[in-house]
């Protein structure tokens, strides 16, 4: 193994690709050669670095310096000053001009522990970081029910939105005697403002694969599908590469590691439908149908894909599993709160100083997340509201900043943690406008199967449009609630049951704003 004194990590994501990261990397190599540093400085392309800068971002270890918006023209200066003479170039640093240093690397990380540190396209780096040890343990030393029990004990709950206990879900499928069972990974991330799963897949695809393998062994599935959005081109290519590497290394295929266990993983590419995030709609889509939800029960765990028992899990949920198996349920429960263990990956967006991605213990307050992890509000702006959990989430006001972000605490606010999306709004954002945009979204995404959702989402959109134009009445506000409540009680799936959450929270927390637009 070769040793380098300095490692430069280049974050590869859609923004940096857009900024021409390929040419940039070539130019960096050339510049390092010019300075005869190619044997001392290692350049590594990796996934998202955990912060959002403009353009191409770099992290340099061991100094732990973050650069943003580095151009090819900056390279001679950067190489000469920093890599040759050891003087970081302040003008390019991410927090230039600010005393605040975001806690990029102090987060308690499980899911993102390798993200931005290893090369996601190289299985050897994942193996070097202790990867696939949990798979080996689960495969060779543990019985399926032991794995299920360990996950149950860990208290892991689904990270897709509903928060169903993962171990319990597996325990329905595991004991069923059946020739064919499936694991389906829900990577159809469509909740507006959410992209945690994309960053997990781009940053550390092997960790997800390891989670899938362990799940497959636990429930006795010999085939797994990753259902991924067609728009996520980079995730698709990274996962395809990772699966092929696993096949080469004998971690997937027939009789894996002489254990007698067979497993293969395939990628299914979605074609653009929010409702396919619903597990039965997703299964319909894999079968080659319109993505319309099925009647439950029977639940997919008993009768799912092609009528076979099928476990459907979110990307983030499965990415937690290797850690649980490796460190045991007790090791995992050190994170989070007693009734909600582990960490949560959030995407913080909007009017904060450092929008980005972070992984924090469950139960951290919204105030801490915004102030400590996102650097507080953007200079000169005041906090007004935060939309938590995407379109199917809730709009919180300032008084609720101390709400603990975990599944059971948020239930008090009739909210679910949902997708981990936090959208922070300043005093200039109109909540009515925001709600209009959310309801337009639901109108567009309703699949049309059931009348309450199909008609209700149109009615909600018409009402909010009327209010937005200043033509609404007080009765219209009540009608919004009544329709949304009816949808909640009568809709077929979670999509139609969701609009009540943003509507009720917006009307309760920001009623004045609606009243100001009501005509007398």
């Amino acid at each position: 193994m070769k040793y380098y004194r300095t490692h430069i990590l280049i974050g590869i994501n859609e923004t940096s690709q857009q900024a021409g990261v390929k040419e940039f990397t070539d130019a960096l190599h050339k510049e390092l050669e010019k300075a005869a540093l190619q044997e001392e400085v290692n350049v590594l392309q990796t996934g998202p670095l955990g912060f959002f800068g403009k353009g191409i971002c770099l992290t340099v270890y061991p100094e732990n310096v973050n650069y943003e918006n580095v151009l090819i023209a900056d390279l001679p200066e950067l190489v000469n000053e920093h890599f040759l003479k050891g003087r970081p170039v302040h003008r390019l640093m991410l927090d230039a001009g600010s005393k605040f240093s975001p806690k990029f690397n102090y987060e308690s990380r499980i899911v993102l522990r390798n993200s931005g540190i290893i090369d996601p396209e190289n299985i050897d780096e994942y193996l070097g970081a202790g990867g696939y040890e949990a798979w080996e343990k689960a495969l060779l030393q543990m019985k399926p029910l032991e794995i299920v029990d360990e996950v149950k004990k860990s208290g892991l709950k689904g990270r897709g939105g509903a928060g169903f206990p993962t171990g319990l879900k597996w325990s329905f499928t595991s004991p069923i005697e059946c020739a064919q069972k499936y694991v389906v990974v829900n990577a159809d991330e469509g909740e507006p403002g959410t992209f945690k799963d994309r960053l997990i897949m781009e940053g550390d695809p092997h960790q997800l694969l390891e989670g899938i393998m362990i799940c497959a062994k636990a429930v006795g599935a010999s085939k797994a599908y990753i259902y991924i959005r067609g728009e996520y081109k980079l995730s698709i290519s990274r996962l395809t590469k990772a699966i092929n590497q696993c096949r080469e290394y004998g971690l997937l295929g027939k009789n894996i590691l002489e254990s007698g266990f067979d497993l293969d993983i395939d990628i299914m590419i979605g074609a653009g439908a929010y409702v396919c995030g619903e597990e039965t709609a997703l299964i319909e889509s894999i079968e080659g149908n319109r993505g319309i939800p099925r009647w439950k029960p029977p639940f997919p765990g008993v009768k799912g894909l092609w009528e076979c028992p099928t476990v459907v899990n979110n990307v983030e949920t499965l990415a937690n599993v290797p850690y649980i198996i490796k460190h045991g349920a007790e090791g995992y429960k050190k994170f989070g709160t007693p009734d909600c263990s582990g960490t949560k990956v959030y995407t913080i967006l909007g009017e904060v100083a450092y929008p980005g991605l972070c992984e924090i213990d469950m139960g951290t307050t919204l105030r801490t997340i915004i102030n400590d992890y996102a650097g507080g509000m953007k200079k000169g702006f005041r906090f007004k509201a935060a939309l938590i959990g995407g379109a199917a989430g809730v709009i919180l006001n300032e008084r609720m900043l101390d709400v603990k972000m975990d599944l059971s605490s948020l239930q008090q606010y009739a909210a679910v943690l949902g997708s981990g999306a936090i959208l922070v709004m300043n005093e200039n954002t109109s909540i009515v406008d925001m709600l209009w945009s959310i309801l337009r979204f639901f109108r567009h995404e309703s699949c049309g199967k059931c009348a309450p959702c199909r008609n209700g989402s149109q009615q909600l959109y018409d009402l909010i449009s009327k209010i937005k134009k200043g033509q609404g009445t007080v009765d219209d506000l009540d009608m919004l609630l009544l329709i949304a409540e009816t949808m909640q009680q009568t809709s077929f799936c979670a999509l139609g049951q969701s609009p009540i959450m943003p509507i009720r929270s917006a009307l309760e927390n920001f009623r004045d704003e609606f009243l100001a637009l009501i005509k007398e």
Binding site: Q17, P192, F195, G230, E231, L349, M434, S437
Partner: protein
């Protein structure tokens, strides 16, 4: 002409979505023609109405011919509060088309889409496989000019 695509997939219904993706991507006008639907129907032995059902359900498929560059502007809440409406107005004017329409020269089709998951750089659009973030009206001009120059 579809044999090449069909030969990659066994004739089972679960391959329908893949086959449709491939047919659409290989067509210079990025759409699925009636003739293609007939061919798929014969290959998979499933009725054409089922195939149309699938095509019209998913937003990525089109049954109408489209331009060389398919613009998909995100209209989700985050991009919306970051000003995607202004960007949309700008695009309509610059291209002289409405939503879902194609320019006369066949270069651009303007579409709206749901969240692309690049919210850190809102407002965002995707043109074919490329994502463009932090859009301003000037940047839209710049991108269009560049794409018009590509032969």
């Amino acid at each position: 002409m579809y044999q090449e695509i069909f030969s990659k997939y066994t004739p089972t219904k679960d391959n329908l979505i893949y086959i449709l993706h491939d047919i659409q991507d290989s067509h210079p006008q990025h759409y699925i023609s009636e003739e293609a639907v007939q061919a798929v129907s014969e290959y998979l032995k499933i009725p054409a109405n089922h195939i149309y059902g699938v095509i019209t359900f998913y937003s990525m498929y089109s049954t109408k011919p489209r331009g060389k560059n398919i613009i998909r502007l995100c209209e989700s809440p985050h991009c919306y509060i970051k000003g995607s409406e202004n960007i949309l107005r700008k695009m309509k004017n610059a291209l002289n088309v409405g939503i879902g329409e194609t320019t006369k020269d066949g270069l651009f089709t303007l579409e709206l889409c749901a969240c692309l998951g690049v919210c850190g750089n809102a407002p965002v659009m995707m043109i074919n496989d490329d994502v463009y973030g932090d859009l301003t009206e000037d940047k839209v001009d710049e991108v269009f000019t560049k794409l018009r120059g590509v032969k």
